[in-house]
Amino acid sequence: MAVLKIIDIINTPNAILHSFGLKVFEVASESISRNQSIVISFQGLKNITSAFCNASIGKLYLSFPNTSELLFFDGLEDNPIWHEKVQSSIELALNPEKIEQQNQAISDLLCS
């Protein structure tokens, strides 16, 4: 099974930006779209954010219905906060109406 190390894709130990998440999504989606299992590895990272998880893992779940059968994680075992961020992004992706609601709430803040 292919292992995708996030740090090798984004070239920084800080997985903090939405755009970094999109890079991971693009690489991972090549395998997922071909029904190939992959491991996304968080090894070597120093920080992650919700925005990163949403743009990478959340978007995979949103784009490919069989993601839960093909995607595995490494490096989350000892970090409950990271684990929770990943789970939250999956939960959001499985409830697209919540994504819309959150995006709209943030948009409203920007325009207020």
Binding site: N11, T12, N14, I16, L17, H18, S19, K46, N47, I48, T49, S50, A51, N54, A55, G58, K59, L62, S63, I81, E84, K85, S88, L92, A93, P96, K98, I99, E100, Q101, Q102, N103, A105, I106, S107, D108, L109, L110, C111, S112
Partner: protein, 144 residues
């Protein structure tokens, strides 16, 4: 008194050693899902913060020599308070109550913050860890 306020999509981050962004820019950066479409409102903010992070991450010696500044994002206690307050009230609480009239009828303190069955603590911890994740690119100004 004149303030140095710039339109975000015309600002060159490299021109400044320090940049202060308001709470809404931070919330967009930390929490935006953006998976369906990137809203035009959010894109300039995403691009601006990305430019700052990329300047700080640049390791190529030739490119590094040409960089005028590697700007730090300034955080203050008032800004942190505003980020937390705005997000918890306008995004997290709204999501918890499903928005609409139900959300509008609820009290932030009584029905959300002090409600042991709400996700207030989880969302607050999550937000704080998102902010801390920017530690390499921020500088704190104010009382410790």
């Amino acid at each position: 008194m004149a303030y140095l306020i710039h339109k975000i999509d015309t600002l060159i981050p490299e021109d400044y050693p320090f940049v202060f962004c308001d709470a809404n820019v931070w919330i967009t950066t930390l929490k935006y899902f953006g998976s369906i479409v990137v809203n035009s409102n959010e894109q300039p903010y995403q691009d601006f913060i990305e430019a700052i992070i990329n300047l700080n991450n640049e390791t190529d010696p030739a490119a590094s020599k040409r960089i005028k500044n590697r700007p730090k994002l300034v955080l203050t206690s008032i800004l942190l308070s505003e980020i937390i307050n705005a997000y918890m009230r306008n995004v997290a609480m709204k999501a918890f109550f499903g928005g609409g009239d139900t959300y509008k009828s609820k009290s932030f303190k009584n029905d959300y913050r002090d409600n042991p069955h709400s996700d207030f603590k989880q969302k607050l911890n999550d937000l704080c860890s998102d902010i801390i994740a920017f530690q390499d690119y921020t500088t704190y100004s104010g009382p410790k």
